[in-house]
């Protein structure tokens, strides 16, 4: 077989291959030899193209070009798509129409090539390489479609050539192949990252449906909105719970209980003081008749009567006795003065005064203790009070007039002076542009 003829062979002849050969026979008489000049060679049973396909398939498979693991991922939301195909075929019309219908927000770059005939394979391969080489300059190509519409096996042949397979394999940009109809499977299909049955199918694979993407976007937006809103509501509830419950209420309850104890103590102290005074008064009162009974005054009077009677009878003789009596009285007076109830009363009175002084003093020291405890409760209250909330970045806004806390914009008038308290101080401002609004805009 001459080289020029051999070049037209689509398949590689192998030992043991059954072929149908046609050509001319020449006879070399001297050597007694026949030479067969083969012009055409056809594998027996299958067509030449079929065999070539099988042979290349086997070769590339061995090299791992069809391996699933090496295939690139097709992006779900491309923005720039390159198409290597014929600019005039039905395939490009179908693809553009489908892309436009589903997802018109992309840019399509068409690399025009011949898709059949001599040199088509080389053009397709060059197209794939050129798009790859220029991808950056074109703003980045997300995905490439290589293909053509339906035709005969010969028409589709370019997509079965090794040069195309190698170009697809070498591409950095993911490639969707779209050659012919459903039934046509080419080498390009096997090497491509994704095989689409038809050009229309390729367009469906390459872009999502816009409304689906918008729905997805909306769903995400709702999710973020709901959870952000839920977060703030949860925190508000928790804050309310903290203010109402737990340490806040406990602390104030504690203070109330302490106050009660203090009140009781005061009452008890008062009572005991009163009862002591009462007792002392009773002692005084019971001592009164005794004092009266042994009163030196009446004793003196009685004695005086007797002295007068004696004086009458025994003027002089008795006078000495009188003096003696007088002396006795005097002595009695001195003694009774010393141990007198009056004296006792006086000392009792002093005792009462001392007691009445010491009891309030005890109460006072108790109060100091309670005051101290109250202060520690106050510290606890501060910890849960608004001040720590302020420290976390919240602020309290009050009307300047009346210092009423602003809880709603409904409480505001335009240009109303406000005082805003933050963690370390306060500042004034003016309410302008008052709007009633949700924390987040409902999408």
């Amino acid at each position: 077989m001459w080289r020029s003829d051999a070049a037209t062979l689509k398949f590689a002849p192998q030992d043991g291959l059954e072929v149908v050969a046609s050509g001319t026979v020449e006879v070399f008489e001297k050597a007694g030899r026949y030479q067969l000049y083969v012009r055409k060679l056809e594998p027996r049973g299958v067509g030449a193209l079929e065999l070539a396909f099988r042979q290349l398939c086997e070769k590339l498979k061995k090299e791992g070009l069809f391996e699933q693991e090496r295939k690139r991922r097709i992006p779900v939301h491309p923005q720039r798509i390159a198409i290597v195909s014929s600019p005039s075929g039905a395939a490009i019309v179908d693809m553009l129409r489908t892309i436009e219908r589903r997802y018109p927000c992309v840019q399509v770059l068409l690399y025009p090539v011949r898709v059949q005939g001599d040199g088509a394979a080389a053009e397709i391969a060059a197209g794939i390489r050129n798009v790859n080489a220029n991808a950056e300059r074109l703003g980045g190509i997300d995905v490439m479609i290589v293909g053509r519409g339906g035709g005969s096996l010969e028409d589709l042949w370019a997509f079965n050539e090794e040069i195309v397979a190698r170009a697809i394999y070498a591409s950095r940009i993911p490639i969707i192949s779209a050659v012919g109809h459903e039934v046509d499977v080419t080498i390009a299909d096997l090497v491509a990252d994704v095989r689409a049955a038809t050009p229309t199918a390729a367009a469906e694979l390459v872009v999502p449906v816009l409304s689906d993407v918008l729905d997805q976007l909306h769903a995400l937006e709702r999710r973020a909105y709901r959870s952000a809103r839920g977060r703030t509501e949860l925190l508000q509830t928790r804050l309310g719970g903290v203010m109402k419950r737990d340490p806040w209420r406990e602390a104030s309850g504690l203070v109330r209980r302490r106050e009660q104890v203090l009140d009781e103590l005061a009452i008890r102290a008062q009572r005991s003081l009163a009862s002591r005074v009462h007792k002392a008064r009773r002692t005084l009162e019971s001592a009164d008749p005794i004092i009266r009974k042994i009163a030196p005054h009446s004793y003196l009077l009685r004695t005086g009567v007797r002295i007068q009677a004696a004086q009458h009878a025994l003027q002089w003789a008795i006078s000495r006795r009188l003096a003696e009596y007088q002396r006795l009285i005097l002595n009695h007076e001195i003694r009774s003065d010393r141990a007198s109830p009056a004296h006792q009363i006086q000392s009792l009175r002093e005792k009462v005064v001392r007691l009445s002084r010491s009891i309030p003093a005890g109460l006072a020291s108790g109060l100091v203790l309670w005051n101290h405890r109250l202060q520690s409760h106050e510290a606890l209250l501060t910890a849960v009070s608004h001040k720590s909330v302020l420290a976390r970045g919240f602020s309290i806004t009050r009307l300047k007039k009346g210092r009423k806390i602003v809880r709603s914009v409904a409480e505001l008038k335009d240009q109303q002076r406000l005082v805003t308290q933050v963690s370390d101080g306060e500042f004034e401002s003016e309410a302008v542009n008052i709007r009633q609004q949700e924390l987040f805009d409902e999408p």
């Binding site: 179908d94 018109p104 840019q107 068409l110 690399y111 798009v131 080489a133 074109l138 976007l217 987040f440």
Partner: protein, 85 residues
Amino acid sequence: MSKRKLTFEEALKQLETIAEQIERGTIGLEESIDKYEEGMALVKQCRDILSKAELKIQQLQQRADGTLETTSFKRPPETNISLDS
């Protein structure tokens, strides 16, 4: 966020991450509000990309230096019969 404009896919992925972060509640309130605002900006960015209603089609042409230039592409007339099916 980087200065480079995010691709649609990147923006969408970031948006998903943000929604998840806010949902899980592992970030603080202030951060989740920041994230929410960031997410809404991403939503807007995605919508802007999607709102380009007209399919932009250009043809590539190889220059002498091997680089490609884009030229306008005249679409072949539509036929009612598709060769696909």
